[in-house]
Symmetry: C2
Subunit: 303 residues, 2 copies
């Protein structure tokens, strides 16, 4: 033994992650003794113990923790190296993991995936839908290639590019259709239905109405669809992004109204890791999304 190997890094990373030799070995698709030997070699090579052996679990030493953090960065860089070749060919192909926030996904993803498959026949788009925080974590940990979220994100390791702005519109019971449209202050007096904690759109709506975060659990829905249905049942009013109007309100028996200026809105953008070899290609994809955004399924708005 002389020089650090990739295997040792991968095995050690697995050990640091799982906290057990056996699980780590399973993760690496090898046997426990094989992994033990490599870790031992690694420690000899480094010249100091990286893990404290206990019977039930192992704990990383202080050095081991620093080592693990650096090893993770290196492994990520190596994985990206493997993807470099994909960036080389003329046409993008292979799996592309796309994360989208829930308040955008249902209204954008169908058309986006359609467009992508038309432009890049070899591409295999793998969409995932979750809240911004999770998407950003997944991006940073290389579990996602790109994410579509509300800007700004402000992560130094990520690039962000704007796709389109979208206004928020008011959804209220049909019975209220002829009433004047309330402004931000007016909304404070109404029963405003919100998405549950974690959705950025919830915060954006609250921010517009200049309301503090209310106590949890009351009058919340897990999707815009739920909120609109609740409005239809006369429970209250809600805000939804423009893009959702067509899909969510068509059959819901609710009235949709543009809000008075200053109209609330948000910027939807695409983000990806700066160091991703496919970064240049992602800018192309952003352009495709922009084109989709410019030809929206036109909602029928009053006002």
């Amino acid at each position: 033994m002389q020089s650090l190997t990739m295997k040792q890094l991968r095995y050690f990373e697995a050990l640091a992650r799982t906290g057990q030799f056996g699980r780590a070995a399973e993760d690496c698709a090898i046997t426990q003794p094989a992994l033990s030997m490599q870790i031992k070699e690694l420690e000899i090579l480094v010249g100091a113990p990286l893990v404290e052996r206990g019977a039930r679990q192992v704990r990383l030493t202080a050095l081991g923790q620093q080592f693990a953090a650096r090893a993770r960065d290196i492994l990520r860089a190596v994985d990206e190296l493997g993807e470099l070749a994909r960036a080389d060919g003329e046409t993008l192909s292979g799996p592309l993991r796309i994360g989208v926030i829930p308040t955008v996904a249902p209204y954008l993803l169908p058309r986006l995936i359609q467009s992508l498959q038309r432009q890049f026949p070899g591409l295999d788009p793998q969409p995932r839908e979750t809240v911004t925080q999770r998407l950003i974590e997944d991006l940073l940990e290389s579990r996602l290639d790109i994410a579509i979220v509300a800007l700004p994100v402000s992560e130094p390791a990520l690039v962000e590019t704007a796709l389109f702005d979208e206004e928020f519109v008011l959804v209220r019971p049909l019975a209220d259709a002829d009433r004047p449209v309330p402004n931000a202050e007016g909304l404070q007096q109404m029963r405003l239905l919100l998405l549950e904690e974690g959705h950025c759109f919830r915060d954006q709506a609250l921010s517009f109405c200049k309301l503090p975060a209310p106590a949890r659990g009351l009058m919340e829905g897990s999707s815009l669809s739920t909120l609109v249905q609740m409005v239809g049942a006369g429970i209250g009013v809600t805000l939804i992004p423009e893009m959702a109007v067509e899909v969510e309100t068509r059959m819901a028996g609710v009235a949709v109204a543009r809000l008075p200026v200053p109209r609330p809105s948000r910027t939807i953008g695409m983000v990806w890791r700066k160091s991703n070899p496919l970064a240049d290609r992602f800018a192309q994809i952003a352009q495709i999304v922009r084109e989709i955004g410019q030809t929206p399924v036109q909602p029928m708005l009053r006002n």
Copy 2:
């Protein structure tokens, strides 16, 4: 074959650097066929050619160049990983590559090395003396651990910390000792002897005298020692940093004078790579240098 290995990265890096299979193999202390095989494996793994084979030399493909750049970063990170253990122990040990600019080295290094060896008996200081530009390159490429240069350096990948300020003093023939000391404008009228191109002290001296860069080749010396000897021979006057006075002017038959305010000066500092695992230790070393700087060998100044 399944997964990228460190060896492949090292071999490919050597190939990219040397431009020849044979030289690269020699560099890696293996035979040429062994290296050829690993490169071939790597290309199969990546799925695209990385080098264009010519008879006399190889050229990297576009992909190969990107690959090489990333590989270098990874190898650097791995090398740093290997050094992590050194940062763990209580006392710093092993080789420490120290770069120092030529206008500081002779006056600081002897005492610095002495102090270092006293404080860290296991440490093996390996000094190198060259101009700032080269030192910075060497730092960035991991051929140096720390460098002592004039600040600022302003490289985002480097940390810099000030060590001490030093004034410049005027050196002139003994015959001129009783004349009034010229200011910056006065110096413009005199025959000012300068270090050759590349030395930061040359630029600092010119900047103080508000002189443009003169035509090359005339009245230049390759060391402060040379300049002072030339002054002793009556050829002209020169500026030298305070720290050099004691060593360079003791036996030279020249007069040394402090300049009138605003006195020219520069800040000497220490720089190292942010990502170097020993970074914390380097701050300790900087403190040692500061202590040396605070007890200078007091020059005998007129004025």
